[in-house]
């Protein structure tokens, strides 16, 4: 009788093939089974409110945020969290630092894998991208009327429900360095009000201050850059998309791209840099104009240790210069606080985020002190009022905030920013004609919206 082993030895090739097929079949079946078990549907939500936290029933909140990931704000947020824990003995907060650029997609992936935090700090399109996955708990039932600014609340509203509590207002404005303007022979009290005046001022700075970058503007390929560049497009009358319609191949968009190309070709801007790149330059008086948020003040002062008086003497801020469209605009890229559906202790979550955004000690001790940004309260206390009574924050409150427009945030914005910002980068780094770039953006958007 032939032993199977000896049969294999007598027919080695056939035996090997048979074994290989068996092994591959087993592996394939296992892989298919695993793939079939893989779920693409979002995880079920937990709508439980949780028990009321107390010293007897302490709860722990996980708080994903970028404040704890940045050098300038880390001491502030850590102190603020400690202060909250001291005044709320039943709640412990575990901070999870994630960089600003990564927090949106990190939280979407964590939601998809069933491991979101309880609470997170989000901003701009990231809020709406996370909300689109159904991950965020509505906050309407917790909100008391009259506490928060209605406009700021509307910026955290998705499909008719408030899903994000406004923590602060952070619209970009046109910062101008008065010292550099004076040195270049420009009037430091007359910042450019139109695109034409801006170009004249940039030319003067370039000619008179060779070591100074005339203008800092974010041209990176990320959703934040599209958001802060959107007002510049709008000043030329351009709206690259609306809903799921690509509207980038227009004379207005070509005019904007041509403007950006001119800025780069004349050496007025540098390409592919984040907004944060210009802040250390600002601290060294190496950039004359910057399109940046109120937080610029905090970063500059934490870098060069200027006093408030010195900073206000050196810097001013105004609205975006108007272009052919005739109106200045900006976007509020304020920081927002969200609660995930997944959280089992939403009462404690709400207590924490509401305290962060509205408690006078948190607002003055962190929002204004470390973020240098505006609170979102409808009726700020006198203590808060006195702290925001600075030339910079008053300019943001009275001149810039009224020009805020709402952007078409959501899944389409997530798909659109790469083709649009790639086009902007193409304009500022090549001599390709604006018409050709606009056509490429158009086809890229059409492809992205399929």
């Amino acid at each position: 009788m032939l032993h199977p082993g000896s049969l294999n030895e007598s027919k080695p090739t056939r035996g090997r093939t048979r074994r290989s097929i068996s092994v591959l079949t087993v592996a394939g079946v296992l892989a298919l089974l695993a793939a079939a078990c893989g779920s693409s549907s979002p995880k079920s939500s937990n709508s439980g409110q949780g028990t009321t936290p107390s010293a007897q029933h302490p709860v722990t909140i996980t708080f994903a945020n970028w404040a704890d990931a940045e050098t300038a704000t880390r001491p502030g947020i850590e102190a603020t969290i400690s202060q909250f824990e001291a005044t709320h003995p039943g709640i412990k907060v575990v901070s999870q630092p994630i960089s600003f650029t990564d927090i949106g997609h990190t939280l979407i992936l964590r939601q998809q894998s069933g491991n979101p935090p309880d609470v997170a700090e989000l901003s701009g399109n990231d809020t709406f991208a996370v909300a689109a996955t159904g991950a965020l708990a509505p906050l309407d039932s917790y909100l008391k009327s009259g506490v928060y600014n209605a406009k700021a609340l509307s910026e955290g509203t998705y499909k008719g429900q408030v899903v994000a509590l406004p923590w602060n207002s952070n619209p970009p404005g046109l910062w101008y360095n008065k010292t550099l303007m004076t040195q270049a022979g420009l009037d430091p009290n007359s910042p450019p009000a139109t695109i034409t005046q801006l170009m004249t001022d940039l030319a003067t700075i370039k000619a008179k201050e060779p070591g100074v970058l005339p203008l800092g503007i974010d041209t990176t390929n990320r959703s934040f850059a599209l958001a802060v560049d959107w007002p510049w497009m709008k000043t030329f009358g351009a709206t690259p998309f609306s809903g799921s319609n690509a509207t980038a191949n227009t004379p207005q968009m070509q005019a904007f791209l041509g403007f950006m190309q001119t800025l780069a070709q004349k050496g007025y801007i540098t390409a592919n840099h984040k907004i944060g790149y210009y802040r250390p330059l600002a601290a060294q008086n190496k950039v004359a104009f910057v399109w940046d948020q109120p937080v610029l003040q905090g970063v500059v002062q934490s870098t060069n240790h200027e006093t408030d008086a010195q900073f206000f003497a050196n810097w001013g801020v105004t609205t975006l210069p108007t272009g052919p469209a005739g109106q200045a605009s900006t976007v509020d890229e304020g920081h927002q606080l969200v609660i995930f559906n997944h959280s089992a202790q939403k009462k404690a979550d709400w207590e924490f985020i509401n305290w962060l955004a509205s408690d006078p000690s948190a607002v003055t001790g962190y929002t204004i002190k470390y973020e240098s940004s505006l609170p979102t309260l409808a009726n700020p206390s006198p203590q808060i009022q006195s702290q925001i009574n600075t030339p910079i924050l008053q300019a943001f409150t009275n001149k810039i905030l009224p020009t805020v427009i709402q952007l078409p945030y959501g899944p389409n914005f997530s798909s659109a920013y790469t083709p649009i910002m790639a086009g902007v980068q193409s304009a500022v780094t090549s001599s390709t004609s604006p018409a050709s770039i606009a056509a490429n953006i158009q086809s890229g958007l059409q492809n992205a919206f399929k």
Binding site: V23, G28, L30, A31, A34, H105, I108, G410, S414, S415
Partner: protein, 291 residues
Amino acid sequence: MKPRRSPWFDWMVLPTIVILAFVIGYPIVRTFVLSTQNYKVLSGLPATGVGFSNYQQLYHDPVFWQSLRNTAVYTFGSVVVAVIIGLALALLTEHMAGPWRYIRTVLLTPWAVPLIVVAFLFRYMFDQDSGVVNALLRDLGLIHSNVHWLTSSTWAMPTVMLANIWTAVPFFFLVFTASLTSVPTDVVEAARVDRAGTWSMIGRIKLPYLLGPAMIAVLIMVINNFNDFAKIWAMTQGGPAYSTTTLVVYVYQLAFSSFNMGYASAIGVVWLLLLMIFAVFYVRLLQRASR
């Protein structure tokens, strides 16, 4: 006498097969399944089958073709230059003795530097405003205005490739140095007796011995470059525009910025097929070398 085989032993590989099926098989099958679906995470809708329409979209997507071209330039351009430099350094240092032999150690150090450190190192060195490269070129009078190394569509790819070449050269240097020691001394002596010149010695005697190891090293490095994400992402994030967007960067952008998993998976499948071609060549070469 041959040892008796027992079929029972064949089943001993089962745990390995199960692990491989989950670790390698599952992602591959899942990627292929996703590539035939319309699955946009942010839509909040479940995945729906769309057949091969993602592949049709890919055929008409200019960014896909540009990223494929960039991948080829980055992969093969880096390898060709690194092979030439690695070979030259191996030949130059072949007969170094005494304290000079430590030069070989120095030449190997770039290989020990983590990729992400290399990326940031080159990013700072090639910064247009504060980078040491522009400062040096200006001091030497070679340039009058700063070159936009990483922020110009023309220079970004060569600069990223330079960083990659810097890390790849030690690998080829090591392979060629090791291979040179395997050239039989009697063959070299015979060539010397026949008064072979330096170039003849390199071209006709040494290079044929280096060819086999070189082919394997080239394929390893091609596969490595094909998958390289960290250096490109840390240096340029695929920009400016799409000038340094390779397939792996494009897949990342589609999957983790737009969350268009179906389309990203279709590109992932094409990427996998291309990688498999290299892998087949690699395995064949290894089999031939072991015979």
